[in-house]
C-alpha cells in the first residue's frame, strides 16, 4: 500500500530526529527546560512510533521486552545507588558534593547520574506499559 510506504519512510526519517531531540533534552536539561523525565518519554515515543508503524513483532526484535523491563528496574537502582555511593564516600544520602573534589563538579556529576537513572526508568516504564497494553490487544484479537 502506498500510504503505508509513506508512513514507513516518514517514520524512518523522523525517528533519528526524535532520538537526537531526546538526547538534547536529556543533556540540555541543565540549561533549558527538559531533563531525564522528558527525555525518557521522548525516547519511548520514538520507539512506540516504530512499533506502531512496523508492528510489535519487529519492534520486539529491535528491543526485546526483557531489555525494557530490565531498564525500568535498573534506572531506579542507578538513582538510589548514587545515593548509596555518596554515603560510602562519607556524605549524606544524595549529597553530591562528595562525588568530586569541587562541590560544583560533584553536583553536576550527581545530577547527571540521577538524570541518567530517571531517563532509563522512564524509557523502560513507558515502553513496557505500551507493550503491556498493545500486546494484550494482539492476543485478544
Amino acid at each position: 500500500m502506498s500510504d503505508r510506504v509513506i508512513l514507513r519512510i516518514g517514520a524512518k526519517v523522523l525517528i533519528p530526529f526524535i532520538l537526537i531531540f531526546a538526547l538534547y533534552v536529556q543533556f540540555h536539561g541543565d540549561f533549558g527546560p527538559g531533563g531525564g523525565f522528558q527525555a525518557g518519554v521522548i525516547f519511548a515515543a520514538a520507539f512506540i512510533l516504530y512499533a506502531l508503524v512496523y508492528g510489535l513483532e519487529n519492534a520486539d526484535r529491535v528491543l526485546p521486552p526483557t531489555v525494557v523491563y530490565v531498564c525500568a528496574a535498573v534506572g531506579v537502582m542507578i538513582y538510589a545507588g548514587t545515593g548509596v555511593l555518596t554515603l560510602f564516600l562519607g556524605g549524606e544520602f544524595l549529597d553530591y558534593n562528595v562525588l568530586a573534589h569541587a562541590p560544583e563538579h560533584g553536583q553536576e556529576l550527581g545530577i547527571m547520574l540521577v538524570e541518567l537513572g530517571v531517563v532509563t526508568t522512564v524509557f523502560g516504564v513507558m515502553v513496557a506499559v505500551f507493550h503491556a497494553f498493545a500486546g494484550r490487544g494482539r492476543v485478544e484479537r
Binding site: 523491563y69 530490565v70 525500568a72 528496574a73 535498573v74 531506579v76 537502582m77 538510589a80 545507588g81 545515593g83 548509596v84 554515603l87 556524605g91 549524606e92 544520602f93 544524595l94 549529597d95 553530591y96 558534593n97
Partner: protein, 491 residues
Amino acid sequence: MSANLPVLLVVVPLLCAPLAALTRRPRPAWGVAMLAAGWAFVVSILLLSRVLAQGTISYHIGDWAPPWGIEYRIDEVNAFVVLIVSGIAAVVTPYARRSVEREIDATRIPLFYTAYVLCMAGLLGISVTGDVFNVFVFLEISSLSAYALIAQGPDRRALTASYQYLIMGSIGATFIVIGIGLMYVMTGTLNMADLAQRLPMVDANRTIPVAFAFLAVGISLKLALFPLHLWLPNAYTYAPSAVTAFIASTATKVAVYMLLRFFFTIFGAAFAFDVMHLDRVLMPLAIIAIVTMSLSAIYQVNVKRLLAYSSIAQIGYMILGISLASVTGLTAGILHLFNHALMKGGLFLAVGAVMYRTGSVRLRAMEGLGREMPWTMAAFVLAGLSLIGVPLTVGFVSKWYLVLAGLEKGWWPVAAVVLVGSLLAAIYIWKVVEVAYFRERSREEPVREAPLALLLPMWILVLANYYFGMHADLTVGVAHRAAQVLMGVAQ
C-alpha cells in the same frame, strides 16, 4: 554508617524492589523481600532505641539543611509506627512464601514481591519523612503497589475492589495535595517543623481552615474512617491472604499516623481541637463506626469480610482515643495502633491458613476445623480473645487506657461504647468459634493442619498479643512518650 540509618531504612527496601523484579524467579524474589523486611525490622528497633535514649533524630538528605532540603525527622511517634510496619512485614513475609505460591500464578510472583516491597518501603517512607510533599510521594508508592497487590486476589471481584480502592485512594491523595498546596501558599514552606512554626502566624484567615478540612477528608479516606470506608471491606476480602494481613495491619495504621502528624505536629492540637473542633466531628463518627461496623460484622458469612468490618470498628477506637485530645487518650490511640496490628495480623494470618487448606474463607468452609486444624483455630481463638479485649491480652490494655481517658474527661459514654464494642466483638468472634468447634463438617475429605511455615508466623503474632498484654509497660511507656511529644508541640 549508623548515622545514616534513618534514610537506609527506606532506601534499602527501595533498592531491594527492583532487585526482586530482576530475579524473575519466585524463590530469590521472596528472599530479597525477606532481606528487605528483616533489614527494616532491625533498623527500626535500633532507631526506636536511639530515639528513646537521645530524643528526636533529624537527617538532612543531600546535606541541604531544612527547609531547603528534605528532612527525615524521627521522634517517638514515628519510630513506634515504623516498628509496627517493619515488625508486621518481618512476620508476614516468611508466611507469604507458601501462601503466595498457592494463591498466585508463579510467573507473577517476582513482580508480586516487588510490589510488596515497594508497598512496605512506601509506608516506611511516609512514616519517617519530615516533609509534607514527600509524604505524598511515598503515599503514592505505597498506594499504587497496594492497588496492584489487591488485584492479585483469586476472585475476579478483587479487580473491582482494587479499582474502587484506586478511585477512592486517588481522591484522597488529591485532596491531600490540595491541602498541602493551600498550606504551602500561605507559608512558603513544605517542611513539617517549619510549617508548625509558621502556621500559627497565618491561621487566622480562611485558607488554613480549608487546607485543614481537605487534609482531614483526604486522610480519612485513606484510613477508612466511617462514612469513607466503602473501599475497605472489598479490598480486604478479595486480596490475597498475605496481602490482607499486611495491609490490614499496616496501611491504615500509617494513615492514622498521618492524621496524628498533620493535626498534632503541624497544625497543633490547640488549633485542631479548640479552633477547628475536630473532636466534634471525629468522636461521633468514631462511635458510629464502632457500633455499626461491629453490627455489620456479625452478619457476614465471609470471615475475611467479617474481620474487615471489624477493622473499621477498631479504627474507630483509635480515632476515639485521638479525638479525646488528651495525653491519655492519645496514649490509648497510639497503643491501639500497635495492638490492633498484632491482633488483626494474627487473625488474618489464621484465616489465610484456612484459605491455604480449604480454598475458601466462608463460614461454611470452617465447619469442624477446630478438630482438623487445631493449631490454626487455636491461634484464631486466642487472637480473637485479644480483639474482644479479655484481660492479659493487648486488646484489654488499649481498651483500659481508652476508658481511663474517657473517665478522665468525665465522658462516661466513652466507656459504655467501649463495652458495647467489646460485646459485639465477642458475638462475631463467637460466631466463627461456634462454626469451627461445634459444627460437624459437611465436607467429605478431612483437611490437614497448615504447614509450619504458616503456623510459626501466626503464632509469633498471637503470642505477642499475650506477651505485650502482660508486659504492657513496654508499649505503654513508648506510647505515652509519643503522646506527650504530640501534645507537647501544642503547648
